[in-house]
């Protein structure tokens, strides 16, 4: 079972203060710590678990600059067999559709049974790349996947729906699955392991190697264009409840009911 995993090197912004840069279209990244996109980490783990069970190869791909090598090395250290970085000056400011196209250009000539991506990336949150890629490759897909079982020629997957529901679908192989967090427990990779993986090759493919034209990628090739980034104005209402604990609890539950938080 050969599996391709598409990953993204993203800034950790959970607690960090996010500042918009001068272009108004991006954030300042100098002081941010980068790591593999959380969803992609689960996708990689699922690929490694499937490889351990069924054999085959795991190939990781990313669209990104040299800094993304750090994420690829982490993937190699965890057990991925091959890593490709798709990088070209012309790829900058590509939207989700073009990212899928770049990945497609690399993947279309590869041998695979399954392609895993994260459901979405934590930075732009578009959640488009996986399904768009499936469409371009002309293969099936399932999104928001919480469980994967490999059968003969197909996979049986659980999809996470709203309201705690799960849907079970059978998807013919080859297929793209976009992986939801919580599907597994990603393994730890030691610093010694990452250092050992630094010796493994990361293949870099650009515009020419991928057979793409400049006008097909970047801002020019993107059907959507980022207009502006901004921090929404904080509007908050603060109310300090006073009294003994039971009075405060009563007041609080009334407010929560009023706001529709409690039934």
């Amino acid at each position: 079972m050969n599996i391709i995993v598409c990953v993204k090197h993203v800034p950790d912004t959970a607690e960090a203060e996010v500042v918009i840069d001068n272009s108004g279209k991006d954030i300042k990244k100098e002081n941010l710590v980068f790591d593999i996109n959380e969803w992609d980490n689960y996708a990689l783990e699922e690929a490694l678990l499937l490889k351990e069970k069924h054999g085959g190869m795991v190939t990781v791909l990313t669209v990104g600059s040299e800094a993304a090598n750090e994420t690829l090395r982490k993937c190699l250290a965890k057990g991925a067999d091959e890593a490709f970085r798709l990088d070209d000056e012309a790829f900058k400011r590509s939207d989700g559709y073009v990212i899928a196209k770049i990945l497609y250009s690399a993947i279309k000539n590869m041998k695979y049974d399954l392609i895993l991506t994260g459901v979405q990336a934590s930075d732009d949150g578009y959640a488009q790349v996986g399904v768009t890629l499936a469409e371009m490759l002309g293969i099936q897909h399932a999104s928001m996947v919480k469980k994967v079982e490999v059968k003969n020629g197909f996979v049986r997957v659980h999809r996470e729906l709203e309201g705690g529901l799960e849907e079970v679908v059978e998807v013919k192989l080859p297929a793209v699955l976009t992986i939801q967090t919580g599907i597994n427990e990603p393994r730890y990779v030691s610093i010694a392991g990452i250092r050992r993986a630094a010796r493994k090759e990361i293949k870099v493919l650009g515009l020419a190697e991928l057979g793409l034209k400049k006008e097909e990628v970047g801002e020019a090739g993107s059907p959507t264009r980022l207009e502006r980034l901004f921090v929404p104005e904080a509007t908050k209402k603060t109310e300090i409840l006073t009294g003994d604990p039971s009075t405060v609890a009563t007041k609080l539950s009334e407010i929560l009911k009023e706001k529709g938080v409690l039934g």
């Binding site: 950790d12 710590v33 393994r187 730890y188 030691s190 392991g193």
Partner: protein
């Protein structure tokens, strides 16, 4: 096999004192004597039950009691190292390790907020090349944990009271690696040692004082190449009292007892200084618990256990009950992990009305 020599395991006489005195063996199948025996027999790191190996707090009770001067817990660290290399690490410990690598602290917090605890205080950050008579190494937990920040602030008060000229490393301060070592992530530990030595070398430091016995222990015993002395804050305060630089103006009529942190006591033999400090506070009646000093019961905060819950009765609850038996109204300690665990135990045992947990630094800062 290298580990046999390094840990002197060949000297083991299998007396079983280690397992017999191990606080974790009291409540689980953890058996460090057996691990040593298996290593000797098979010349290989032994198989083990998955969870149990993460139970050891590396408290050093086994080390203190071993008649052959072996450190059995170090074998546990080695077995963990093997698991770390295999990636088989409990998820909560994994997250702590990844956080240390990314953010320089195990609490998942960003570096940019490391010195927020000192806002509004007169705390100066060391500048490049500066001659520093005392570097205050705050530590991750006092820097980020809301409860323990109070200990750091109390220490600042004490430094001011004693006229101590001190600096901190501000947001440049990095995890000391104590728990990373205990978890067995030796590669990450070596990386931290390298980073920290480089950082310290940017200044001309004379003395470093730490909040936590864990930072103190690791700097003192596992860092090669530190060019300055390291002290735990209780040592520093004891010296200030002896020199007459710290005087108490208020009286505090209170019966207190003291819980010896393992990383200060068992690992470093520092039993007297904390007691000297406590006994010098006017009005204080100091009582010992039945088990004290090298017999102190581990709170289960060491060896990565702050990020891994383990089955059985919590030893911190046992400890709080022991403290209550002394009749003390305050249980003092001098370690962030002990403080957090003991305070939790006071709540879970419903002893909030009976006994209060405080750090020695906090207690002192109230009696100036």
């Amino acid at each position: 096999m290298e580990v046999l020599q390094r840990l002197n395991l060949l000297g083991c006489i299998q007396c079983g004192v280690c397992t017999g005195s191990c606080p974790i063996s009291l409540k689980s199948g953890f058996n460090v004597r057996k691990l040593v025996r298996e290593t000797l027999l098979y010349k290989n790191l032994p198989e083990h039950e998955e969870d149990v190996i993460w139970g050891c707090t590396t408290c050093s009770t086994c080390e203190v009691r071993c008649p052959r001067e072996i450190k059995p817990f170090e074998l546990v660290v080695d077995i963990r190292s093997m698991l770390v290399e295999e990636g088989v690490v409990p998820p909560t410990i994994r997250d702590a390790l990844e956080s240390v690598y990314k953010h320089g602290n195990p609490w998942g917090r960003v570096r940019g907020k490391r010195s927020e605890w000192a806002e509004g205080l007169n705390v100066k950050q060391a500048s490049e090349g500066e001659k520093i008579s005392l570097l205050y190494f705050v530590g991750c937990t006092p820097a980020y944990d809301n409860r323990i920040q109070n200990v750091a602030r109390a220490l600042i008060k004490i430094f001011e009271k004693t006229g101590t000229d001190f600096r901190t490393l501000g947001n440049n301060e990095n995890c000391c690696g104590s728990e990373v070592y205990g978890i067995g992530e030796k590669g990450l530990f070596e990386l931290l040692v390298e980073e920290n030595l480089n950082l310290f070398n940017r200044y001309d430091i004379k003395l470093m004082v730490t909040t936590s016995p864990h930072c103190y222990n690791i700097f003192k015993n596992k860092y090669n190449g530190l060019k300055f002395e390291v002290q735990h804050y209780t040592q520093y305060i004891a010296k200030m009292i002896e020199k007459g630089k710290l005087k108490f103006s208020k009286k505090r009529e209170e019966t207190v007892t003291y819980h010896d942190p393992c990383f200060l006591g068992k690992k470093n033999g520092i039993y007297e200084e904390p007691r000297l400090v406590i006994e010098n506070i006017p009005g204080v009646k100091f009582v010992e618990m039945e088990r004290s000093k090298s017999q102190s019961l581990c709170c289960e905060g060491g060896g990565g256990r702050m990020w891994f819950d383990f089955s059985g009765e919590r030893l911190s609850e046992v400890r709080v009950k022991e403290a209550v038996q002394t009749g003390a109204s305050i249980l003092l300690t001098s370690c962030p992990f002990c403080l957090l665990n003991l305070e939790d135990a006071v709540k879970t045992t419903g002893m909030e009305e009976t006994i209060k947990i405080m750090d020695i630094a906090e207690f002192i800062a109230e009696v100036f």
